[in-house]
């Protein structure tokens, strides 16, 4: 699973999709998830990384990241493999 390569992601969390002209905002954890995904990090490794950095249990992380990815899909921001 990968983030579409033509998405513009700014440091403060603005995302612009040149294909549709839509823009989005993401929060801090969202930015981190986006960065990992665009580097091709797998979900498991991504959750590992978040677990080190944030005060949250693994179950919460998996569930919330899964939800985030679902929304990315819904907005057509992921590459179809």
């Amino acid at each position: 699973m990968k983030v579409r390569s033509n998405l513009a992601v700014s440091e403060d969390g603005f995302v612009f999709d040149p294909k549709t002209g839509e823009s989005y905002t993401v929060n801090e954890v969202g930015i981190s998830v986006l960065q990992h995904l665009s580097r091709g990090t797998q979900i498991d490794a991504l959750v590992d990384a978040l677990e080190k950095e944030y005060d949250a249990d693994r179950y919460t992380l998996e569930k919330t990241v899964g939800d985030f990815v679902q929304m990315m899909k819904e907005y057509n921001l992921l590459d179809h493999e």
């Binding site: 823009s23 905002t25 929060n27 954890v29 005060d55 569930k63 939800d67 929304m71």
Partner: protein
């Protein structure tokens, strides 16, 4: 190294050019404490959910309201509307501030007496007063507001038996230019029924006719409606004086001032649209001052303000139970506060604020209570920072009607605490338990054992 606080990752589509409905960009701050007591601590010590009442807010709002009227008119009397919130501790705060009691049932009447309110300072409203209620109120010289002709004739009948003169007012309904018109209660002004009632009372010779009352509705957004009501009530007072030489001693404008809550479906938040106490006071007092009532006959203005006094002082604190994404992509939040504890969520888009820090990012979510029912929706749509299981929140402005219209359903009703002016927390109503709920039940002998 200390780990960072985790906020659920969210992505939100920006709708450029489309103003955010209700303008609820979360530029507000988290509510971490109420009157100096941490929300976290309140939940830890008293459970989740828990109702919280701020004595400080109660008193300061009351004083603002009183001042708005008393600076414009010399004789002002508030009467606390028991149905709005009849927790004893709540009523007593208002009674300490000088409020009389306004009750609408035998139960509320007895509660007011037990709270120490002098019986001649209890206003007895409503269409449902039993014979016993009326007898008691007559003997106690309470202020009986007659709702309909049947009640009037019952009172006249009672006069022969009880050797006391009932102290009465009539409730008047009328067109004040607002919709809906509450014509169900009292006697109509516009078709002459109210004047008819006054004449029947006066010629009975057995009753002291001392006041006029109108409660034109609730959450009245137009201060001018009260001006119209005042004009009509003053007209009745003037005609009574002209015909019988008798001046009424008070004119009671009922309740109905809007609180700062946002009505469901309103485009602008209530904080922007609700008239101030000053605006209501201006309309009401000028309708009496500028009437034909003679200066020596100026009546006391009585106010039965409910929600506008107590709403801001009440909170319910709770905890997020779960997050869900519906099949259609709608984000939903399940919280431990259901509509049975927050009856007013049928009327209002209550403000929900996280109790912990959050970023400026928000997403829209539908908020459900924990009841296993479809109607259990606290907010159809709220822009909130991403909350996760276990996060705590504060629902504000819930002081009116929730602690009286609540329903016990599938679980126990929680504690109510009051924070006093020294930030000391007092339980003013305990949570229910299996015993308190079942103590009135009786099981027939043949069902005592479930063995066949």
């Amino acid at each position: 190294m200390e780990k960072k606080r985790f906020e659920r990752p969210i992505i939100t589509k920006l709708n450029t050019g489309m103003p955010n409905k209700i303008g609820l960009k979360t530029e507000y701050q988290p509510i971490r404490s109420i009157d100096g007591v941490a929300v976290k601590e309140l939940i830890e010590n008293y459970g989740s959910p828990v109702y919280v009442i701020s004595e400080n807010t109660m008193r300061s709002v009351y004083r603002q309201a009183y001042q708005a009227f008393s600076t414009r008119y010399p004789k002002i009397q508030f009467a606390w509307s028991y149905k709005t919130n009849y927790m004893d501790a709540v009523c007593k705060v208002y009674h300490q501030e000088g409020s009389w009691a306004e009750v609408v049932s035998g139960f509320e009447y007895d509660k007011a007496v037990r709270n120490g309110v002098p019986t001649e300072h209890i206003i007895f409203n409503g269409p449902d007063k039993s014979i016993e209620d009326l007898e008691k109120a007559i003997r106690n010289k309470s202020l009986i507001h007659i709702d309909h002709f049947d009640e009037l004739y019952t009172i006249i009948g009672l006069c022969d038996r009880i050797k006391e003169r009932p102290q009465v007012a009539i409730r008047v309904n009328m067109d004040t230019g607002i919709y809906p018109q509450w014509t169900r209660f009292g006697f109509n002004y516009d078709n002459g029924e109210a004047w008819d009632a006054i004449n029947r009372i006066m010629i009975s010779g057995k009753i002291d006719f001392i006041g006029l009352h109108a409660h034109i509705g609730t959450y009245i957004m137009s201060a001018n409606a009260y001006r119209i009501a005042g004009n009509k009530l003053a007209d009745l007072a003037v005609r009574t004086k002209a015909k019988y030489g008798k001046a009424v001693s008070y004119i009671d404008f009922g309740g109905g001032f809007a609180s700062k809550n946002t009505l469901k479906g309103a485009y602008l938040p209530g904080t922007d649209t609700t008239p101030s106490f000053d605006e209501y006071a201006d309309a009401i007092t000028s309708s009496i001052i500028n009437s034909e009532i003679k200066p020596e006959d100026m009546p006391t203005i009585v106010l039965e303000t409910g929600r506008a006094l107590i709403d801001d002082a009440g909170y319910i604190l709770g905890t997020v139970l779960a997050n869900k994404r519906m099949a259609d992509g709608t984000k939903t939040l399940i919280i431990d506060v259901g509509v049975n504890m927050l009856f007013t969520s049928f009327w209002y888009d209550h403000k929900i604020t996280p109790a912990q820090d959050f970023s400026h990012h928000t997403e829209s979510a539908k908020i459900y209570g924990p009841l296993c029912m479809n109607i259990d929706v606290i907010r159809e749509y709220a822009d909130l920072p991403p909350l996760k299981k276990g996060d705590q929140f504060v629902i504000s402005r819930i002081g009116a009607y929730n602690m009286t219209q609540w329903m016990q359903f599938i679980t126990y009703r929680p504690k109510i605490v009051m924070i006093d002016q020294q930030s000391k927390v007092h339980v003013i109503r305990n949570n229910e338990n299996l015993d308190t709920i079942t103590q009135l039940e009786k099981v027939p002998e043949h069902l005592k054992s479930i063995k066949k």
